[in-house]
């Protein structure tokens, strides 16, 4: 059964079209990622699905219900972490969580538990405005999880997290998913999306450009494998003559051979004894992303 069905939603702010006909379906228990450059319309899309904004057009079903206007029946089953964290003034981390917990009729014991879950037990008595950026972010995630919702929306939850906290959060999110909960999240870390998400949608300028499992998207790119050697390990001309080598490029640091048949190329390199420092790079979700959204930088 589908947890979320979004059909052709649109939203404009004045002349700016932030969301321009987005459709997707998220199955119950799925981990769904929305990727896209800054300003692509990810947050706006999430806010429409969460019921915070009314779409100009199109329809949303969240757990079979219309989330807008404020649907009190849905609220206890949905957890939202907003891109900008929102806290009560002057309260400690524990007090924030206890307050949010009480809003959902959940007791303080659970607040403790969630604080532990995001690794903030040590900071329980620290006031929210004295937490570090990453700690605030974790508290904000904890607030979204405190009532154990069936559908969790996280808007860039891993932004500002250190590598340890990021991996810890991955474990937390996987554990939530393992209990059958649905997770929809946005991120700019494509490696992370690749390992976490069942499916991802790549958005730009308010439209969905691609939507599939990360593996299928990478396969669809049909990109060559790149074999990278230390510069000087092999002459460029020799490299170009190796079996399977399609293209050779060289820069200050390294020599890169593109190939569609890596096996004969690698055995040829092994015969020559030039495997030291050798790296094999296959296409990643990042390549798909750049291919879809282009490389030019924008506002």
């Amino acid at each position: 059964m589908a947890a979320i069905v979004v059909e052709d939603i649109r939203k404009s702010y004045g002349d700016l079209t932030a969301v321009d006909g987005v459709s997707f379906t998220v199955a119950e228990g799925e981990f769904f990622g929305i990727l896209g450059p800054n300003g692509a319309g990810k947050t706006t899309t999430l806010e429409i699905v969460e019921g915070l904004r009314r779409p100009d057009g199109g329809s949303v079903r969240l757990l079979g219900e219309n989330p807008f206007p404020r649907n009190v029946k849905l609220l206890p089953r949905v957890g939202v972490q907003l891109q900008a964290s929102a806290f009560f003034e002057k309260l400690s981390a524990r007090e924030q969580l206890e307050t949010f917990a009480a809003l959902y009729g959940v007791g303080p014991a659970r607040a403790r538990e969630v604080l532990d879950l995001v690794g903030l037990a040590d900071k329980a008595e620290t006031r929210e405005d004295r937490l570090s950026g990453g700690q605030r972010q974790r508290l904000s995630i904890a607030c979204a999880l405190v009532h154990d919702p069936d559908v969790v929306f996280l808007d860039e939850p891993t932004a500002a997290l250190d590598p340890q906290a990021r991996r810890n959060l991955w474990d937390v999110l996987r554990a939530i998913q393992a209990r059958g909960k649905t997770i929809v999240y946005t991120t700019h870390y494509l490696d992370e999306a690749e390992v976490l998400c069942d499916r991802v949608a790549i958005m730009d300028s308010g439209r969905v450009l691609a939507l599939d499992t990360p593996a299928a998207l990478v396969r669809g790119l049909d990109a060559p494998v790149r074999v990278v050697l230390e510069r000087g390990a092999l002459a460029a001309a020799t490299a170009a003559g190796l079996p399977g080598a399609d293209e050779v490029t060289e820069d200050d640091q390294s020599l890169t051979i593109s190939t569609r048949t890596p096996a004969p190329l690698l055995s040829a390199l092994a015969e020559r004894g030039t495997l030291d420092g050798l790296q094999v790079r296959t296409a990643t979700l990042e390549d798909v992303f750049l291919h879809q959204t282009g490389r030019e930088y924008r506002a």
């Binding site: 702010y13 969460e50 019921g51 915070l52 904004r53 404020r70 009190v72 609220l75 206890p76 949905v78 939202v80 907003l82 900008a84 964290s85 929102a86 806290f87 009560f88 003034e89 002057k90 309260l91 007090e95 206890e98 307050t99 949010f100 009480a102 809003l103 959902y104 009729g105 007791g107 303080p108 607030c143």
Partner: protein, 349 residues
């Protein structure tokens, strides 16, 4: 028992009492007004007329006994006369044996008249007593309770009403604006709590704060230096107090619904409440103002809160005096909160 209402109220109360600036402006600032005005005006009511004297005798002693004047001795006539000439003394009594001469300054007619009447009266009384005859006309003075009050008696309800008004307006407006800006409003909108719960808990905090303000105020004003005396019907001021908070809380909600930034909200709140406090007689009695100003004053909620608080805290009026202030404040609350609910938006845009 950890209901949304209870924990929201607790969260807001903590937020309020942990903010030192707010505490200062809520509790200390209005008290400073009370202390300053209280000390400034404390002499005016009891100020007694001074009278100089040169020489001594039964007349001077009798003048002292009346208690109506403060008699100050001068050693020489010239020294005393110099004071009269400078306008520092309204009159100087010169006693040489049985002869009593009053020197007075014509510049201050009213005081000179009072002094003259007094000295003449005392001298004649002594004359009658000296003659051994019973006086033909009996004279007695009794005091009538008048409606004019000692400064502290109108200052306390006035400044207290103003202090409560300002903290109720700010208490409703600022959290609303800052919650909207910091997205707390969105989180509340996403949680299964009703608007009534959110507003109710905020109102509870505001009322608690106002009670603390009132107790503190009355306690300080009752200190011997100021000498506030509460009337027997002071407890009838409670409905006026609560309805006053409601009225200003709803004004605060309107301000919070309109304004998008904290700066705008506190500016708007000040622009509303400060002129209103002058027009409503919070600091100075409004009775002497021109008629049109009084008419303006009569449509202001603070005027009615002021009047109600004064009527019960110090004038000792009865139940029937509840009607007008309560009706006006309630009407105000209903109209303003209705408008606020129409103007209110969850989001900045």
């Amino acid at each position: 028992m950890n209901s949304p209402f209870k924990s929201l109220s607790l969260a807001m109360a903590k937020g309020f009492f942990r903010e030192k600036t707010t505490l200062f402006f809520t509790f200390v600032f209005p008290l400073m007004f009370l202390v300053v005005f209280g000390l400034l005006f404390s002499d005016s009511g009891t100020d007694r007329i001074k009278l100089g004297s040169v020489g001594d005798g039964p007349v001077v002693a009798a003048l002292r006994e009346t208690g109506a004047v403060e008699v100050e001795r001068y050693d020489t006539l010239d020294a005393g006369l110099a004071e009269v000439r400078d306008g520092d003394l309204p009159g100087l009594v010169e006693v040489t044996g049985d002869r009593v001469v009053l020197h007075f300054a014509a510049s201050d007619q009213a005081r000179a008249g009072t002094v003259r009447g007094l000295v003449q009266g005392v001298t004649q009384e002594l004359n009658v007593a000296a003659s051994g005859q019973p006086p033909k006309f009996a004279f007695a003075a009794t005091q009538v309770e008048d409606s004019s009050l000692k400064a502290i008696q109108y200052l306390t309800p006035g400044i207290l009403s103003w202090g409560i008004a300002i903290s109720a307006v700010f208490g409703a407006a600022l959290p609303l604006v800052s919650w909207r800006r910091k997205q707390v409003l969105r989180k509340l909108r996403l949680a299964p709590v009703s608007t009534t719960t959110v507003l109710g808990s905020r109102l509870l905090v505001t009322i608690t704060v106002a009670i603390v303000q009132a107790v503190l105020f009355v306690a300080v004003a009752s200190l011997p230096v100021f000498g506030l005396a509460l009337s027997g019907t002071w407890w009838l001021s409670i409905p006026v107090f609560l309805l006053g908070i409601l009225a200003f809380f709803s004004i605060g909600m309107l301000v919070g619904a309109f304004c998008k930034t904290e700066e705008a909200a506190s500016g708007a709140a000040n622009i509303l409440v400060l002129p209103m406090s002058f027009l409503s007689g919070s600091f100075f009695p409004i009775e002497n103002a021109p008629g049109w100003l009084q008419a303006v004053s009569n449509i202001l909620p603070l005027r009615h809160m002021n009047d109600g608080m004064t009527d019960f805290l110090v004038r000792g009026k009865g139940f029937e005096a509840l009607l007008v202030p309560c009706a006006v404040l309630l009407g105000f609350t209903l109209v303003v909160s209705f408008i606020a609910s129409k103007v209110f938006t969850w989001e900045d845009n």
